[in-house]
Structure formats: C-alpha cells, structure tokens
C-alpha cells in the first residue's frame, strides 16, 4: 500500500472577502468581542448591522457567533467589528494562539479543563 502524495503547487490562498482590517487587534473567527459600555445605547450614526452587533455583543461572543447569529458573512463581520473597535465601541478580547511560550500556561489550563470535562 503506497500512495504518492500530490504535492500541489500552492498559490496564494483565498481570503475572507473584506477581511483586511485596520484594527490593531487580531480579529480571527474565534476572537471574543464585547460591547465596551453595555449599559449605553449605540450611537445613532452607526449602520444598522453595526447597531445589531453592538447590541448582540453586550454579552461576549466570538466573531463567528456574531456572523452566524446575524447572518452576516465572516469577512464582512470582521470589517464591521474592526470599525467598532477603532471607535472604542467594542472591546476585542485576547486570542490564545499557543504560538508563544508565554501562552503555555493558558494551554496547560485548557488541557486541565479538558481533562476535567472529558474524564
């Protein structure tokens, strides 16, 4: 049994449309977002979709959850959230990628959590 793997010539991949954002914070599908001041009404100058995001994120949610709940494609959601973050209307939570050794503590916590949840 032997297969020869097709080493495909990889060109640049597709990216989420509109995914290029100005945000200083990494905004990935798993990144959590919450409204900065949940008690306040959204500024009336916001677009309807942004108002919906503002209201939804009064309870912390991931970008993917916002996209699914409001039925907005991921890339568009990314741009809208990025704009809200630039105006300090939403807070972008830290995303643990495990790529730096300083995050090992969090990964260890995640592992302990899984060991507790899946015994």
């Amino acid at each position: 049994m032997s297969f020869r793997r097709r080493r495909s010539n990889r060109v640049r991949p597709f990216t989420f449309t509109g995914g290029r954002t100005r945000s200083r914070h990494p905004l990935m599908v798993q990144t959590l977002v919450s409204t900065s001041e949940p008690g306040q009404e959204p500024p009336s100058t916001l677009m309807p979709e942004s108002i919906n995001i503002y209201r939804l994120c009064r309870e912390t949610r991931s970008l993917a959850e916002v996209s699914a709940e409001l039925n907005i494609p991921l890339g568009v959601t990314q741009v809208l959230i990025s704009d809200l973050a630039e105006q300090d209307l939403v807070y972008i939570h830290p995303t643990i990628t495990g790529s730096s050794p300083s995050e090992n503590q969090v990964l260890e916590r995640a592992l302990r959590g899984l060991e507790r949840l899946f015994q």
Partner: protein, 201 residues
C-alpha cells in the same frame, strides 16, 4: 478604552479569552460528527465569501480578476473555565475548498485531521496542507466507522507520508469521551511542540 467607568461585571468579563482548534479532513470523514460530540452547543454553520488573493502581492486591490466563492463551515464550543473558551472549527470537506484553510488555520492552537480509513486517499490534501505549511501542530485521528480499522496507524503514516513525530490515534467520532481524547492528545502535543521549539522572534 473610551472611559474607566465600566461596571465591575464588564471589567471581569474582559478577562475572557478564546482559542481555536481546527478539525480538518476529507469529505465525509466525520469532522462535523466530532465537533458535535464534543461541543456544548449544536454545531453552528456560518458562511464566508472568499476572494482569491493575488499571487505574489500583499495588496489584492490590484488584482484585475477576482474569483469569489461562498463556503460554509461549522463550529462548536467548549467553555473550558470561566475565562477560557475553546472553539472547534470544521473545514469544509470538498477538496476544492482546501484553499480557504489559511484564514481558518491562522491563530489556531492546533489541528486534527480526521481520516476515514476506508478512503485514505481523501485525506491527502488535508495531511499535505499541514505537512507542507508546518504552521501549527497537528495530529491524525482515525475514525473507526464500523468499529474496525483496516490499517494500522503505522501503515497510515507510511501511506500518507505523515512525519514520525505526529501522533496518530484511533477514535469514534460519535462518542463524546473518544472525541475528548482526541482534543486532549492534540493539546498535549501542542504543549510539547511549544516547549521543544525556542521562541521565534
């Protein structure tokens, strides 16, 4: 950010953070089944419109002809503790969608390639992606569809050219504890992987 007068509630809320695991594999290998057996919510489907990035340029605004396609992916969630949420994202199985994985894979703690041993060839693209890009740690999980595996893990390793250090385990995607074992194996491997590699500038 704007002001300091957050309620203590929203301040403690700010400690919340998240991470992501990618569930990849061939068409019908059991990715969604794995996500739903470990997730605390039924898998959620979300859509992305993808645009082909230009070749050799970082700025795709100059690309004359852009190709777009819509893809659906599903994800699940595990609340690990009151500050940490872990998301599991399943890649679409159709081979023609492999190109989108870069956006999905970016920032992931690791990936699981789910393999249906009856159709090994369907896993080439997924394994090849992680072997070639070497961007995140990945493990291979052999889904025991009928309770039997036709090949040993080492035969699969040889057939799919999986690096010697990559863990290969068998599991049943329909069972929560078996799916949990897969996630734990991935996290342990990611931790080893991190400890072994020196900080990158």
């Amino acid at each position: 950010m704007v002001s300091n007068d957050f309620s203590s509630d929203s301040r403690s809320n700010r400690k919340k953070m998240s991470s992501k695991i990618v569930i990849a594999g061939g068409f019908g290998a059991g990715k969604t089944t794995l996500v739903s057996s470990v997730s605390e919510i039924p898998p959620v489907t979300t859509e992305a419109i993808m645009t082909e990035a230009s070749i050799g340029h970082d700025d795709n605004s100059i690309t004359p002809h852009k190709t777009t396609t819509t893809v659906a992916m599903d994800f699940g969630r595990i609340t690990v503790d009151d500050e940490l949420i872990m998301y599991m994202f399943g890649t679409p199985g159709q081979a023609r969608f492999w190109f989108m994985w870069d956006d999905l894979v970016r920032g992931a703690v690791g990936a699981v390639v789910v393999v249906d041993c009856r159709r090994l060839a369907d896993s080439f693209d997924a394994v090849d992606y992680f072997e070639t890009t070497k961007r995140i740690p990945y493990i291979v999980a052999l889904n025991k569809f009928e309770g039997l595996l036709e090949y040993t893990p080492e035969q699969v390793r040889e057939a799919l050219e999986i690096s010697p250090e990559v863990p290969i385990i068998d599991f049943d995607a329909r069972h929560r504890s078996s799916g949990g074992d897969v996630l734990k194996t991935l996290l342990r491997y990611a931790l080893e992987h991190n400890r072994a590699s020196e900080p990158v500038a």
